[in-house]
Subunit: 148 residues, 2 copies
DNA sequence: CGAGATGTAATGTCAACAATTACATCAAGA
DNA sequence: TCTTGATGTAATTGTTGACATTACATCTCG
């Protein structure tokens, strides 16, 4: 599994929710419009973000709002909220343990350490990136070319 | 795109080729047997490894052999030999630039820096892992439980 | 020449992901 | 209270991409 589009969409939604605070009610349909995704996909993503306690969504009336400090939300937290064991399955390994060959029987174990190191490196890097920093980058870009 | 099975299979093949040196002629059919993959898949992988000048494959007669120092071959080199721009496409981004929304128009640029950092972290980690180290790990494992 | 090997194009298969449909549930206001 | 607009989720249907398979051309050496 790749570090999927869902993660990008989730960041998109979170920035949108942050920027829309007090201006418009952020519904799944509105986010679907902005992201180009289907409303159901959005609802699933928002549902995951809600479980992680990054946002609140009033039942019935609707309208998502941030309920956590953006500087405390990291990209890794967002990613794992969406795909709980994403990094585990990020790297593919062929199955060949049953083959009568010493290489086949041990390749899984040989690759375990390298792949674990890679996953750790990704995790650390993602943990150093906060929603706050991405919001600031977004605001900087908007100020530079103020369309709309 | 994920860091695909191809990478694991390639490492499998390289270790096999190293260990078989002087014992058996390593054909694509033999590697297909050991890895559980189709011989054509193996040939494609070997072809990429050949282009990267890690192995040589005599035309006609067959039999792959290492032609580089295992301590000079890194996991990153193996990976990029198989998937030249793998890291670029590792991380998915939804397309929504044409939407009339400032978030939609800037999300791509906002995510660029974070994603580049992740790709760099993966690259660095993979570059620190050599084929030599994986061969040594393999030999250690075989010595521990000497089947076959 | 023929056996066995590689190189590669073309096609088939399948599973994962996303889109879509459908419907139950909920809250606020007319 | 009933309608409206929103969320929550299950079920179904594309769609796509990776891998498998088939087929065949090409090569080397006995």
């Amino acid at each position: 599994m790749q570090i999927s589009m869902k993660c990008s969409v989730a960041v998109h939604c979170l920035i949108f929710i942050h920027e829309a605070k007090g201006i418009v009610k952020v519904t799944s349909n509105l986010l679907a419009e902005s992201t180009g995704c289907n409303p159901v996909i959005i609802r699933n993503i928002l549902s995951a973000l809600k479980k992680a306690e990054f946002i609140t969504i009033p039942r019935g009336t609707g309208g998502a709002e941030l309920c956590a400090d953006p500087s405390q939300i990291t990209l890794y937290q967002i990613y794992t909220a969406l795909e709980p064991n994403g990094l585990v399955s990020l790297i593919g390994i062929h199955s060949c343990q049953d083959r009568p060959c010493p290489v086949a029987q041990n390749i899984g174990e040989v690759l375990q350490t390298p792949y674990h190191k890679i996953a750790e490196a990704i995790k650390e890097t993602m943990n150093r990136i906060t929603l706050q920093s991405m919001i600031e980058e977004f605001q900087r870009l908007v100020k530079k070319s103020p369309d709309l």
